[in-house]
Structure formats: structure tokens, C-alpha cells
Amino acid sequence: MGNMRIEKLLTDLKNLPKETAGEDFEQKLLERINQYEARQSLDWSEKLIGIKRIFNPILAPALTILMAFGIIYYYLDKNNFQSQHFSGEIDRAKPIIVEEENEIITPPTKIKTPKKKDIVITKVRVPLNLGPGVSLDEKLSIESSFENISNERLIDFPNINKPFQIRIPPPYINFDEEFENFIFMGRTKDSIRLVNSKNR
């Protein structure tokens, strides 16, 4: 029963009269599109007119002068502003940058360390040459005999044969120190320790 109703409903829905657009629909639509296109082109033409006005031969020099004045005024005003605001300020010292001379840095040469396999050890027997031999016993017996000892002075003063005097200054004695030493003789730290150890 329910299905029957649904089927009828669906059939009726499909058979509902079709609504169609009006006869002048396309014409109206085209009119709207044409208006839109016209507006779009008008926008462009307006922009072009604006550009043309800027590049007008009469207006262009005047505009250029005006712009130049504007730029000059802007820079002057900017400088004034800076001087007003930063007059009391001392410029910081700027570090002078000196360009370093381009030094050619040569890479350190590699020291070749001989590898173990490169070292060749050769054993060569070299005979010692010590000259002609001397018999020490013979030499000693000759030199040590008293007969050969000459009356030579130990220190030779060649030009002074006369007797002479040498003044030796008397030794300076500090009696106070000597007395103190005498009194405290033997009373060093060690002696004190010894005394104490005895007491123990």
C-alpha cells in the first residue's frame, strides 16, 4: 500500500509541468553581459585617460618640477629632523677597518717521518786510533825524582824581586754579637728540644 503511494507520488513528480525560461531570457542575459563588458572596457578606458592626463605635454613639466620640489623638501626636512633630534649626541667612534694585506699563506710543508721499514741499520766496526802509546810508569819515575825539582816559585812575579809589605786590615769584631753568642751558646732549638726530651 505504502509502495503504491510512493510510486504514484514519484510518477506525479516526474509528470509535473516543466517550467521553462521566458522567451526573452537569452536577450536579457546578453544585455546584462554586454553591460558588464562595457563597464569593464570603460574601467580600462578611464584608467588610460588617467594615465594620459599624467603624461599630458602641458602637465608633465609642471608635475616634474613639483615632484622635484617634493623630493628636495622631503630630504631637507629629514635632515632637519635628524639634526634636531640628535644634536646632543656624540657620534660614536667608528672602528677604522684596514684591509689586511693579502698574505699568501703557504700550507706547512709536511715533514716526512721515516717509516720503520725505511730505516736500515748497518753495523760497521770502526777501529779506534789513539796514537802512539806512552808508558806511564817510566814517565812517573823520571818526573817524581827530587833531583829534577827546580827551585821554582809557585806564583811567578817576574818584575818584583824585592821584599814588599802587604797590609792586612784588622778583623772587625762586634762585641755585642759575640757576647750574645757567648751567653746563648748552645741554646739553639735543638738543644731546647734535647732538654725537653730529657724532662720527659
Partner: protein, 202 residues
């Protein structure tokens, strides 16, 4: 557009035409697309919004947008899906606007799930057996009943049961999942049946 031009375009698909329109900006191609879709869209829009004047305005706006935004079309979707989506969105916007106006005159109390268009239930005196004789009246009643169901159901019923579009395409137009489309169509039909029970009483 003369007959020879029509013959030239008649062999081409909608997708081929729109791509050619994108390239050439030819008004003849645009007219061909208008000629193909103006009546089905008008039927859909009239059934959806319930007013011929409003439907025609929306239809014009739809084609105007097609003209302006032709470059946005990509071959990912079918042309019919694209144009129906534009028309459907414009119709929904119009219904919301109407609803906002109605809100100040008769304040609806419907604040249920998923729909922002409030329904105003008014007693209907027309669904009586004695006024069913003429089929024109019957169709009028059905149209009125369509306007009484929620727009989310109405749109789907029109697309499926009147425009005869496949479920997949309806899902693409509305942006809903296929299952949701089917269930909503079912619910919409039941609502419609309930409203028209006096007609289908036997």
C-alpha cells in the same frame, strides 16, 4: 544563432564546449550552453524557490556567473554538476534571505538539526478530496507540498525525482555523502507523502 551553427555545436559535449569557451571567449558557444541548460535549470529553480520571477532572476545570475567565472571550471567535474551547483547555491542564498525577511513577520519556532531555514507550519485547507478533480490543481498541490518540506530534502527530491539526476551527481552538487543523499531523499519522500496523504489515500 542559425541552424548551421547549432548543428556545429550539437555534436560537442558540454565539457568540450566550456573548454572551447574558455579558450575563445566566443559568445556563440556560451549561447549554446545557455540553450542547453536554461530550461532544466529553470524547472529546478522554480520547484526549489516556488516563484517564477525569483527563479528567473537566479537563472540569469547563474549564467552570468558562468560567463564571468568560466576559467574556474576544470575538467574534474561534469559541466552539468558545476552549473547545477552554482544554481543551487544561489537558490539557497535566496531562500535564506527570504527566511530572514519572514523571521521578522512570523517568528518560526523550528530550530532543529542541520537546517537554518525555519518551517512555518500553517493549516492547509487545500488537501481535500473534493478539490482533486483537475490534474492542474493536483500539480499545484504537489508543488505547494514541495514548498512545505525542508529545503535540504526539497533540493534532493527535485534533483532526483524531477530532474532525474543520478545519486552520484546529486552528491557532488550538494557536497554530501552518497549515503546521506539517499537517506535524505527517502525522508523527504516520506514527508511529502505525509503532506499529500489526502490525495494518495486509496
Amino acid at each position: 544563432m542559425d541552424k548551421s551553427e547549432r548543428k556545429k555545436f550539437s555534436s560537442k559535449t558540454d565539457e568540450e564546449l566550456i573548454l572551447e569557451f574558455q579558450k575563445t571567449n566566443s559568445i556563440e558557444i556560451f549561447n549554446e550552453l545557455v540553450r542547453r541548460y536554461k530550461d532544466p535549470l529553470m524547472n529546478f529553480l522554480f520547484k526549489f524557490v516556488g516563484s517564477r520571477t525569483v527563479a528567473e532572476d537566479i537563472l540569469q545570475e547563474t549564467f552570468f556567473r558562468l560567463y564571468k567565472n568560466k576559467d574556474y571550471y576544470t575538467t574534474v567535474a561534469k559541466f552539468s554538476t558545476w552549473i547545477y551547483t552554482i544554481a543551487s547555491n544561489l537558490a539557497k542564498t535566496e531562500l535564506r534571505r527570504q527566511n530572514r525577511r519572514a523571521f521578522f513577520s512570523i517568528q518560526g519556532t523550528n530550530n532543529k538539526e542541520e537546517e537554518d531555514v525555519s518551517e512555518i507550519e500553517l493549516p492547509d485547507e487545500t488537501y481535500r478530496p473534493d478539490v482533486q478533480a483537475d490534474s492542474n490543481i493536483k500539480f499545484k498541490i504537489i508543488q505547494d507540498a514541495l514548498m512545505k518540506i525542508k529545503p535540504i530534502y526539497r533540493e534532493l527530491i527535485i534533483l532526483r525525482d524531477i530532474e532525474d539526476l543520478p545519486y552520484e551527481e546529486i552528491a557532488e552538487i550538494t557536497g554530501l555523502k552518497l549515503g546521506t543523499v539517499k537517506s535524505r531523499i527517502n525522508r523527504g519522500r516520506l514527508q511529502l507523502q505525509e503532506l499529500l496523504k489526502d490525495i494518495y489515500y486509496e
